[in-house]
Subunit: 301 residues, 2 copies
C-alpha cells in the first residue's frame, strides 16, 4: 500500500513526460503501457520506431494510449540516449528512463558537458522500500552508484535522499548512517564519517532532516534493539533513511530485503537535473512502475 | 525446524561440557538451564558462586540439574575468563561460552600465549540462519570478528565456515563470495579476492567445498536471479555459505535477516582450539540455545 500510494501522489502532481532511451524492448514497453493505463505519465519513446510499434501492437496498445505515447525514430542506441537526455534538458520531458541500452551509455549522455544533465551534485542511487511488517518507507542509499563514497560524497548522497523523502511526504526524515558498531572506532572510517555527518546536521550544514549515527542497522530500525544497547536518539528505531557506507553494504541489504524479506521497491538515480529511472531486466513490472512513480513524485517543479 | 534439528544432532554426539566465563547473569543462567533441560550439555560455571546460586534458586533449578551444573567460584571477571579458557585447554570442557563479561576480556584470555586457545588460524564469526521460505541453512561469515579481511584471512574464514558446514551435515557446501557485481572490476578488490578464492578452490588449495564468485547476493541465493543474469555456476542460486567482504556488509545482512526477514540464527566464533559462544544480551533465549547447539555440533572430537 505504501508504494501504491506513490502512483496516486505522482498523478496528483499533474501529467509529466518521461523520455525513454532505446524503448525497443518488450519489458520496457510493458512498464510504459502499464504506466499509461494508470495515466501516470506521457512518454516519448526514442529508438527503433518499427520495432517499438511492433511491440506496441503485440501488446494491443489501444488508440487511447497514443495520446500518451510519442515515438521518435533514431538510428543508434547512443543517439537514443543523446536525444532522450536533450529532451529533458530542453524541458520537453521531466524524467529520463533507461530502455534496452547499457547503463554506462545512458550515464555518458547524462554526464555530457554540452547537453547533459549535470548539476554539480553527486549522482546517487535511492531505493524506497515497503517491507512487510514495517509501517513506513525505508529508504536505502546508495546501493547502486557510488562504490565507496568519502565524506563529501556522503553529504551529497544524504542531501539527495532527503530531497526525495520530502517529495514523497516525509517532511523531516530521520537519517541513520549505519556501521557495524554504534560507537566511534577510530580504525573504522565509517563510524567517523557517521559521527561527522551527525554534527554537520546539528550545525545546520545538512538541513531538512535529523541525522544520528553511527548506528547498527538493528538500532536504526528497532526501538527494542536500540533500548537494549542503551542508545538514546531521535533517530534510533525510527530511521526513514539508511545511509550505507559502501555499495557492497547497500547491494547486500537491497537484495536481502527483496529476496528474503519479500519487500517491494522503487528506485531512482538522483542528483542530475531530473530523476533517472534505471530499472534492470530482473526487476518486476511492479517495481518498474514504482520506480517511475517515485521519479515523477520527485520532479522538482 | 532446521535449527531445532541441531539440538538433536548435538545431543547425539554424546554429552559435552561447556565452560562459562562469568556466569552471574540472569539471561546467561536462563540459557544454561534451558540447555540443561534439553540435556544438551554439562556446564562449569565460573564466577561469583553466591550470585550464581541465587539466580539458579530464583529460576527453581531442580536437583536433577545439579548433575549437569558445576559452579567454580572466582574473585574477578578476568579470573573467570582465564579459568574457563584453561578448562577448555585442559579438556575439562569442550566449548567456551561468554557470560556477563566484555567480549574483549574473553578474547584476551583466548589469545593468551601461555594458556590460550590459539591454533594459528584466524578467529572468525560464523552465523547459521534459518530463513522463512528458504529450505536450507544459509551460513554468513564473517559478520562479527574481522573488520576488512585480506585474501589470506578470507581463505581462513572460508575454511572455518566449511568445517562448520561439514559439522552440521552439509557435506560439500557451496560457497559464494559476494560483491556488489558479478563481474571482475579491477577497482573493486572484493571482486578480485572472490575470483582468486574461486581459483584456489579449483586448484585444490581450499577443499571440501565448491566456491564460485564474485556473485551478487541475489545470484547467490536465487536461481531466477542468476539465470536472468546469464550466470552459469554450480553455486549460483544454491549457496550454503555467503562470504561477505567486510564486517559492515555482514552486520547489515545479519540484522536485515533477523529484523526484516524474521530469520532465526545461531552463531559461534570458530578458529580457536574449541568453539566459542559469544551471545549478546539482545539475542533471544532461543538464539542462545541454537548457538550452543551449533558450538556442540562443531566440537572436533
Amino acid at each position: 500500500m505504501l508504494l501504491e500510494a506513490l502512483i496516486d501522489r505522482a498523478t496528483q502532481k499533474g501529467l509529466k513526460t518521461v523520455a525513454v532511451a532505446a524503448a525497443e524492448d518488450a519489458e520496457v514497453i510493458e512498464a510504459v503501457t502499464e504506466a499509461v493505463s494508470c495515466k501516470l505519465a506521457k512518454f516519448i519513446l526514442f529508438g527503433d520506431k518499427e520495432r517499438i510499434q511492433q511491440i506496441l501492437n503485440e501488446k494491443n496498445a489501444t488508440n487511447n494510449e497514443s495520446d500518451y505515447l510519442q515515438i521518435v525514430h533514431v538510428d543508434s542506441k547512443e543517439m537514443a540516449a543523446e536525444l532522450a537526455v536533450k529532451a529533458v534538458k530542453n524541458k520537453d520531458a521531466d524524467v529520463l528512463m533507461k530502455g534496452n541500452i547499457p547503463t554506462n551509455v545512458v550515464l555518458k549522455a547524462v554526464l555530457n558537458k554540452d547537453y547533459g544533465l549535470r548539476t554539480g551534485s553527486v549522482l546517487s542511487h535511492i531505493a524506497v522500500f515497503e517491507i512487510p511488517g514495517v509501517d513506513h518507507f525505508i529508504i536505502i542509499t546508495d546501493a547502486g552508484m557510488n562504490i565507496a563514497p568519502d565524506l563529501v560524497q556522503k553529504v551529497q548522497i544524504t542531501k539527495n535522499a532527503v530531497a526525495i523523502a520530502h517529495s514523497i511526504g516525509i517532511d523531516k526524515p530521520k537519517v541513520a548512517p549505519i556501521a557495524a558498531v554504534e560507537v566511534i572506532n577510530p580504525s573504522m572510517q565509517t563510524t567517523i564519517d557517521a559521527a561527522t555527518l551527525t554534527m554537520m546536521n546539528k550545525r545546520g550544514q545538512i538541513t531538512g532532516c535529523i541525522i544520528d549515527g553511527p548506528l547498527g542497522l538493528d538500532n536504526a530500525i528497532s526501538t527494542f534493539a536500540a533500548e537494549h544497547k542503551g542508545i538514546h536518539s531521535e533517530v534510533a528505531g525510527k530511521a526513514d533513511i539508511i545511509l550505507v557506507p559502501t555499495i557492497e553494504v547497500g547491494n547486500a541489504l537491497y537484495k536481502s530485503l527483496v529476496y528474503f524479506a519479500k519487500a517491494k521497491v522503487g528506485a531512482i538515480i538522483s542528483g542530475a537535473r531530473a530523476p533517472i529511472v534505471l530499472t534492470s531486466r530482473a526487476d518486476t513490472a511492479e517495481s518498474k512502475l514504482y520506480s517511475l512513480a517515485l521519479a515523477l513524485c520527485s520532479v522538482s517543479k
